[in-house]
Subunit: 140 residues, 2 copies
């Protein structure tokens, strides 16, 4: 069983990476950014100024906006994370999970040739596992 | 491999359920509730009035508070989910995942003898999988 488990998480994170990165400009208001999260049903956004300059998650909004009482009309540049944590798209899933655990994050920006091109989230992994399981059950 | 996967998700959800439910009263302000989420590093809260009367997640705050421009000083009773979706603690994990997919939720309230006593989240499942993997690797 260990080998089975290990194999499924030894594949490159590429397999679970979504390329549908949604971005907002630095001067976008926090409220508008949250409307975008709702519209696209996503838990995070990248902030772009030609290239990716920041990133923030729903958890960041809770912590840095609502819990502290910051106005919704402030720009996302005020609350975005600037020190971006990334992993190359060929990194094995289990290494990415270890990095996410170390940094206590649920989303990892994925790079190809040093450019950010995708996102890996815990939700993506669980969704993939569930789909695998449903296929297994329906093929019996 | 299918069987391996399936076995790991056929166990009762009890195995992945946390009993550390954190609650707030109905008249708690949204801002204070978010401070509690940050303090306890959790993504959801139950709302209690002797028994559990509501539930909300970080995603609900984004959608029902920030995106709509609701004041942080409103009580959580204004935005909480009242129609609670629950699963019994002896339900197999894969059935709970199917229910979560159907309702498009990432957290499931867990009941024992019809009383809400715990919470199962996608994060709990991934954390458990990662720990299993680390044990498997370190025992080689």
């Amino acid at each position: 069983m260990n080998m089975m488990k290990k194999n499924s998480l030894s594949v490159p994170v590429r397999q679970y990476t979504t390329k549908k990165l949604i971005g907002v400009p630095e001067n976008e208001t926090i409220q508008n950014a949250c409307q975008k999260m709702v519209e696209f049903r996503i838990g995070s956004l990248v902030v772009c100024n030609k290239k990716v300059v920041g990133f923030f998650t729903q958890g960041d909004i809770i912590e840095r906006v609502v819990a502290t009482g910051l106005s919704y009309t402030e720009p996302v540049s005020k609350i975005m994370t600037r020190d971006l944590i990334t992993a190359d798209i060929d990194t094995p899933v289990y290494e990415v999970l270890e990095l996410m655990q170390k940094h206590q994050i649920r989303h990892m920006l994925i790079t190809e040739e040093a450019h950010i091109t995708g996102l890996f989230s815990l939700k993506d992994l669980v969704d993939a596992e569930r789909q695998f399981l449903e296929t297994a059950i329906s093929s019996e």
